[in-house]
C-alpha cells in the first residue's frame, strides 16, 4: 500500500516533509541581511530593507512553488528549461539594458532580471538529467564528455561576452562540480586543470582592459589606491578596523562615510564585518556552513541520480557564491562581482537562490521517487 502511495504524495505530505531547519537558517541569514541593509540606509527602512523583504517574500513563493512541483515534471522539462534560459541570454545580448558597459539585465513588465543568475541552476538541471540518463558508464568513449562540455561552455561563453566574469566563473565551477560528482575519472580533471593553466596566456589576450586591470590589482591592491585597488583597500581597512568585536551596529565609519563602494551589493560583508567584527563575521560564516552542511545531507538522502546530482549541484553553486564573495572582499580573490546570497541587495540573485533551494527541497521531499532514464523531452 505504501509503495503505491509514495508516488502520490498529497500537498500536505509534501509540506510536512519540508526541512524547516533549512528554511529557518535561510530566514536567519536573510534577517542578518536586512539588518545590514538597514544600517547602510542609515536607519531608513523604506529604502533598501523594504525591497529586500519584498524580494525575499517573492523568493519564498518561488521556493514553495518549485518545491511542491512534481519532480517528474521538473525532470522531464530539465533540458527545455535550460534551453529557455540560454535563449534568455541570447535575447539579452540583443535587447538587454547596458549598464556600465555590460549587458546583464533584461527588463519586462517593470522587472529587471539577470538571466545569468538563473542559468547557474538550469545548467545543473540539464547536467543532472544528462548524467542520470547516461548509459554504459564503463564504456571507454570520450564522446560521453562532449554534451556535458557543451552544456557548460555555451552559457559560460554567453555570460563572458556580456561581459560578466564573476558569474561566468560561478556557472563554470557549478557545472564542473556536477561533472565531478558524476564520477569523471580523476585524470581528466588533472589534465583539464593543467590544460587550463597552459591556455591562460592565450585567454589573457581575450580579456578586456578592465579585467586585466582587476587581475593586476588583485596581486597588488596598493598599486593604484584610488583606481581598481581602491575598493579592495578600503574593504580591508573597514574589516580590519572592525577588530574582534566590531565598531557596533550602525557605527561603521568606513561604511557610513561612503568610503566603501557598492556597500549594499557585493561589499555588504565588509560593512557587516566592520560593525560586528571578527566574531560576527565568523558567526555568519558558520551559519552558511551549517546551511550548506544540511543541504548536502538532504541531497544524499535522494535515491535517484538526477535528484542527487541536482541537489549537490545546488549546494556547490551556493557555496561558490559565498566563498567567492567573502574571498573577494577580504582580498583573497580578484574583485569579480558576485553577490552574497540572502544578504546582498539584488533581486535576481535572491530569486535564483530561492529557486535553487526550491529544487533541492523538491528532491528532498521526493527522495523516494524513482525516475526512468529520460528522453530529450
Amino acid at each position: 500500500m505504501f509503495s503505491e502511495s509514495k508516488a502520490e504524495l498529497t500537498i500536505f505530505d509534501k509540506l510536512r516533509s519540508i526541512n524547516y531547519f533549512l528554511l529557518f537558517l535561510i530566514c536567519t541569514i536573510f534577517f542578518i541581511g536586512t539588518l545590514a541593509l538597514y544600517s547602510i540606509s542609515n536607519g531608513n527602512f523604506s529604502e533598501w530593507p523594504i525591497k529586500h523583504l519584498q524580494r525575499f517574500i517573492l523568493g519564498l513563493i518561488i521556493f514553495f512553488i518549485v518545491a511542491l512541483l512534481d519532480l517528474k515534471i521538473i525532470f522531464r522539462f530539465a533540458y527545455l528549461i535550460f534551453i529557455a534560459s540560454i535563449a534568455a541570454l541570447i535575447i539579452l545580448l540583443i535587447v538587454g539594458d547596458e549598464i556600465n558597459g555590460a549587458k546583464r539585465w533584461i527588463s519586462f513588465a517593470g522587472f529587471s532580471l539577470q538571466p545569468s543568475e538563473f542559468v547557474k541552476y538550469t545548467l545543473i538541471l540539464a547536467l543532472a538529467k544528462y548524467f542520470h540518463s547516461m548509459e554504459d558508464y564503463h564504456e571507454n568513449f570520450i564522446s560521453k564528455l562532449f554534451i556535458p562540455s557543451l552544456i557548460v561552455i555555451i552559457p559560460v561563453a554567453f555570460v563572458i561576452i556580456q561581459p560578466d566574469l564573476g558569474t561566468a566563473l560561478v556557472i563554470f565551477l557549478g557545472g564542473v562540480s556536477v561533472i565531478w560528482i558524476s564520477g569523471l575519472n580523476y585524470k581528466y580533471f588533472i589534465s583539464g586543470i593543467l590544460g587550463f593553466i597552459l591556455s591562460l596566456p592565450i585567454l589573457w589576450q581575450y580579456l578586456k582592459e578592465y579585467q586585466k586591470d582587476r587581475v593586476f590589482t588583485f596581486f597588488n591592491p596598493e598599486r593604484d589606491p584610488l583606481g581598481n585597488g581602491y575598493h579592495i583597500t578600503q574593504s580591508k581597512i573597514a574589516l580590519g578596523s572592525g577588530g574582534i568585536f566590531g565598531k557596533g551596529y550602525m557605527e561603521g565609519t568606513q561604511s557610513h562615510l561612503n568610503f566603501l563602494p557598492e556597500m549594499q551589493t557585493d561589499f555588504i560583508f565588509t560593512m557587516f564585518g566592520e560593525e560586528f567584527g571578527f566574531i560576527g563575521s565568523i558567526i555568519l560564516i558558520l551559519l552558511y556552513m551549517a546551511l550548506i552542511g544540511i543541504a548536502i545531507r538532504m541531497a544524499l538522502t535522494s535515491k535517484s541520480l538526477f535528484s542527487k546530482f541536482l541537489s549537490l549541484g545546488v549546494c556547490s553553486v551556493f557555496f561558490i557564491y559565498v566563498f567567492v564573495n567573502i574571498g573577494m572582499v577580504t582580498g583573497l580573490l580578484p574583485v569579480v562581482g558576485v553577490p552574497l546570497p540572502f544578504i546582498s541587495y539584488g533581486g535576481s540573485s535572491m530569486l535564483a537562490v530561492m529557486f535553487g533551494f526550491g529544487l533541492l527541497t523538491n528532491c528532498y521531499i521526493n527522495y523516494n521517487t524513482t525516475l526512468t532514464k529520460g528522453s530529450f523531452i
Binding site: 571507454n140 574582534i244 568606513q254 568610503f259 567584527g277 541520480l305
Partner: protein, 623 residues
C-alpha cells in the same frame, strides 16, 4: 593499468562513488571556509591596529583656520588697516548634476557681476570634482544676501565668508602701510600660513616689515569627512590666534595734511619728533589706492602704475635717494668748526671757485656759486643764510672730504634710518676710501668741492635728512627712529653724539637767519608769530651744466623738461626757541628748495604748531 584508469566515467556503483566524491568536495568546502576564517582572523585580529589607524586617517581630516591679521592703528588710535569680511562663492562640481545651469542661474540672480564663464568652465573641468572652485570673490553685502535668499536655485554653489584687508586711510598712507597679496613662490617654504590656500603676506611698508607679528597663528580643527571630503562634523577645534595689533607713530591727520600739500607733485616728506625719534609722518607722492591689491589687479592698471614717470608705487621718503644739495651745508659747517675753521672767518665770493685740473684743456676747472655775480665777503653765518657755494667750496677744500664724511655719518647719513623696511635705501656718504672701494679710482679734489655743497656722489633720503637734522638740533641726543610704537622701549638718554654746544649755537643761528631774516634763502616761507621755524633750503642738480650752456645764459628751470629740472629740498626744525620737530621736504624736479620745498615745510610747521601731537597721542590698550 588499474581499472579506474580504463574508463572515462567510473562504473557506477552509484551511491558509493557519489558519497565518496561528495565527502571530498565537502571537506574541500570546509577547508576553503577555514581559509576565509583564517583570513578574517588575520585582518581583524592580527592587523587590527594597522587598519584602525588607516580607518581614522580616512575619516578624520585636518582643516586649517585662517587667523585674522593684526590691526594697524595710528598715533591717535585710529585704525588704518582692518580686516573686513569677504563674501565669496565657490562651486563644488559633485554637488550639482548640471553646473552650467547653476552658473546660469547665478548670473540671473546677480546680473550686476561679471563671470568669465569660459575660464570658469575649463577650470571646473580640470579640477577634481570635490574640490571647491572660486566663482565670485568680494561680493557686496547686498549681492551676498541676494544670493543667500536664492541659494536653492544654484545647486553646488556655496557662499563663504573669509577675511580681506581693508585700508581706511586712503592714498596718503599707501606707502608706509604697504599692502598684502598672495604668497610669492619663495615664501611657500618659510611662511607659517603657507598651507592656507588664501594665505597672504605683506608686500611693502609696515605690512611687510611687521608681517611675522601681524600674520597671527593658524588654528586648526579635526573634522570627520565622508569619502568625498564633505565635512560631517567637527571633532575638535583649536582657534586661530589673531596677529598682533600694531600702533604706528604716524599721525594720520598730519600724514593726510602733508600729502595734500604735496599737491600731487612728485616728492616726499618726513616729520620727526627730535626728542623721541618718533616719525609722525612719512609721505610719498603721488600715490595709489591701497585697496587696489585686495583684489587681483588688472595688468592694464598695473602697467599704468609701473610706467608712470612719477613712480607712484615707490615710497620716496625712504627708497628714493637724492643729492642733498645745500641741505648738507649745516653739517659741512660743523665739520669746519670742529677742524679749526673760525666762524668769524670771511671768504670772498666772486661767483666762482677755480681749481687746477690737468685733464682739461684750459688746465683750470671752475666751480660756480648759485649766485652768478657772487656774494662778496661772507662769514659762516652769512654763508648758511644765503647758502653761498664758494664759501663751502673753500672750507671743504681746506678740511678735506674725510672730515665731512665723518660728521655726516655721525648724524646718520649713509645708514638706514629704520631697521625694518626692506625697501629702504641708505644713501651714500662719499669719502676717499668709499670711492676707492666702490669705484676703484682715487679721490679728486674737485669731488670734495662738489660734496661740500651736497652734490656729486652724495645721496640721501628724506627720512635720513630729518633724522640727521633732529639729532643735530636736539644737541646731539642720539634718538632711535621709530615708526611702530613700542611700549616697552627703554628710554635711553645716555647715548650722545659728540657735539660742541658752541658749534651748535653757531649753526642754529645760521639756520634761523636763513628763514627769519631778510635775504635768507627761505625768508619768504617764514612763519610769523612766537612759534617760528628755521631751516636750510637745497637745490640739487640732476644734470651737468656745460660751460657753453653757462655762457649762453642759464635756462630757467621752468624752461627745461620736468625730468631735467633741479630737485627742491628743505630741512627745518621748530619751534626755534624749544625745538620739537624736524621736517624734510623734497620735491622732485621742483626747480628750487626755496620755491618748491620751503613753502610746503612752512605749512607743515604751522600745522605742527597749531596741533600738539603729544596731546593727541592715545595709547591703544589692545596693542
Amino acid at each position: 593499468m588499474s581499472e579506474s584508469n580504463k574508463f572515462i566515467f567510473k562504473k557506477y556503483d552509484a551511491n558509493a562513488s557519489i558519497n565518496r566524491r561528495t565527502a571530498i568536495i565537502t571537506i574541500a568546502k570546509a577547508g576553503l571556509f577555514s581559509i576565509l576564517g583564517a583570513r578574517l582572523a588575520y585582518l581583524q585580529i592580527v592587523d587590527k591596529d594597522k587598519y584602525e589607524i588607516l580607518s581614522d586617517n580616512n575619516r578624520i581630516t585636518h582643516r586649517l583656520i585662517e587667523p585674522q591679521r593684526g590691526i594697524i592703528y595710528d598715533l591717535q588710535g585710529k585704525p588704518l588697516a582692518i580686516n573686513r569680511q569677504r563674501y565669496e562663492v565657490v562651486i563644488i562640481r559633485e554637488e550639482t548634476s548640471d553646473y552650467i545651469k547653476s552658473i546660469e542661474n547665478l548670473k540671473n540672480i546677480l546680473p550686476d557681476v561679471n563671470i568669465d564663464t569660459e575660464k570658469l568652465y575649463s577650470e571646473i573641468k580640470k579640477t577634481k570634482k570635490f574640490i571647491p572652485i572660486k566663482v565670485l570673490d568680494d561680493l557686496s553685502w547686498d549681492q551676498f544676501s541676494r544670493l543667500n535668499a536664492n541659494i536653492h536655485k544654484v545647486d553646488g554653489l556655496y557662499p563663504q565668508i573669509g577675511f580681506k584687508r581693508y585700508y581706511t586711510s586712503g592714498q596718503s598712507h599707501s606707502h608706509i602701510i604697504g599692502y598684502t597679496a598672495p604668497l610669492d613662490k619663495n615664501e611657500k617654504d618659510t611662511n607659517t600660513l603657507a598651507d592656507l590656500s588664501s594665505a597672504k603676506s605683506g608686500k611693502l611698508g609696515i605690512e611687510k616689515a611687521k608681517d611675522v607679528s601681524l600674520r597671527g597663528k593658524l588654528g586648526n580643527k579635526n573634522v570627520e569627512v565622508n569619502a568625498n571630503g564633505r565635512e560631517i562634523r567637527e571633532l575638535d577645534r583649536y582657534e586661530s590666534i589673531q596677529g598682533k595689533n600694531i600702533q604706528l607713530t604716524i599721525d594720520s591727520d598730519l600724514q593726510d595734511y602733508c600729502y595734500k600739500n604735496l599737491n600731487d607733485q612728485s616728492g616726499c616728506v618726513a616729520v620727526t619728533n627730535i626728542k623721541t625719534g618718533e616719525f609722525y609722518a612719512l609721505v610719498s607722492s603721488p600715490s595709489y589706492d591701497p585697496n587696489l591689491f585686495s583684489k587681483s589687479i588688472s595688468s592694464e592698471k598695473w602697467n599704468s602704475l609701473t610706467n608712470n614717470i612719477y613712480k607712484p608705487l615707490i615710497n620716496k621718503s625712504i627708497s628714493s635717494q637724492y643729492p642733498p644739495g645745500s641741505t648738507i651745508k649745516p653739517f659741512v659747517a660743523l665739520a669746519a668748526l670742529e677742524n679749526g675753521v673760525s666762524e668769524k672767518r670771511e671768504i670772498y665770493c666772486n661767483g666762482k671757485h677755480e681749481i687746477k685740473d690737468a685733464s682739461l684743456e684750459s688746465g683750470i676747472k671752475t666751480f660756480h656759486c648759485w649766485k652768478e655775480e657772487g656774494h662778496g665777503n661772507v662769514n659762516m653765518n652769512e654763508a648758511l643764510k644765503v647758502s653761498c657755494d664758494v664759501y663751502f667750496y673753500q672750507i671743504s677744500r681746506e678740511i678735506g672730504i674725510n672730515k665731512i664724511a665723518e660728521v655726516c655719518k655721525r648724524f646718520g647719513f649713509g645708514q638706514n634710518v629704520f631697521d625694518s623696511f626692506y625697501e629702504e635705501k641708505k644713501g651714500i656718504v662719499p669719502s676717499k676710501n668709499w670711492k676707492l672701494e666702490s669705484i676703484g679710482t682715487p679721490w679728486m679734489v674737485g669731488e670734495t668741492l662738489s660734496a661740500g655743497i651736497g652734490q656729486g656722489y652724495f645721496l640721501t633720503t628724506s627720512a635720513q635728512l630729518s633724522l640727521a637734522l633732529g639729532q643735530l638740533i636736539n644737541g646731539g641726543e642720539k634718538i632711535i627712529p621709530t615708526i611702530v610704537m613700542d611700549k616697552n622701549k627703554d628710554v635711553q638718554k645716555n647715548q650722545k653724539i659728540s657735539l660742541n654746544p658752541k658749534h651748535l649755537a653757531i649753526i642754529k643761528k645760521g639756520l634761523e637767519d636763513a628763514t627769519n631774516t631778510q635775504g635768507g634763502t627761505s625768508f619768504r616761507s617764514r612763519i610769523p608769530g612766537n612759534l617760528k621755524m628755521a631751516g636750510k633750503t637745497g637745490t640739487s642738480q640732476v644734470r651737468v651744466i656745460s660751460s657753453q650752456e653757462r655762457e649762453e645764459g642759464l635756462k630757467k628751470n621752468n624752461e627745461l623738461p620736468w625730468e631735467k629740472r633741479d630737485h627742491g629740498l628743505f630741512i627745518g626744525y621748530g619751534p626755534i626757541n624749544n625745538p620739537q620737530y624736524a621736517v624734510s621736504v623734497i620735491i622732485e624736479h621742483g626747480g628750487s628748495g626755496s620755491g618748491a620745498a620751503a613753502p610746503v615745510a612752512s605749512k607743515i610747521f604751522k600745522y605742527l604748531f597749531d596741533n600738539n601731537l603729544n596731546l593727541k597721542s592715545k595709547s591703544i590698550s589692545n596693542v
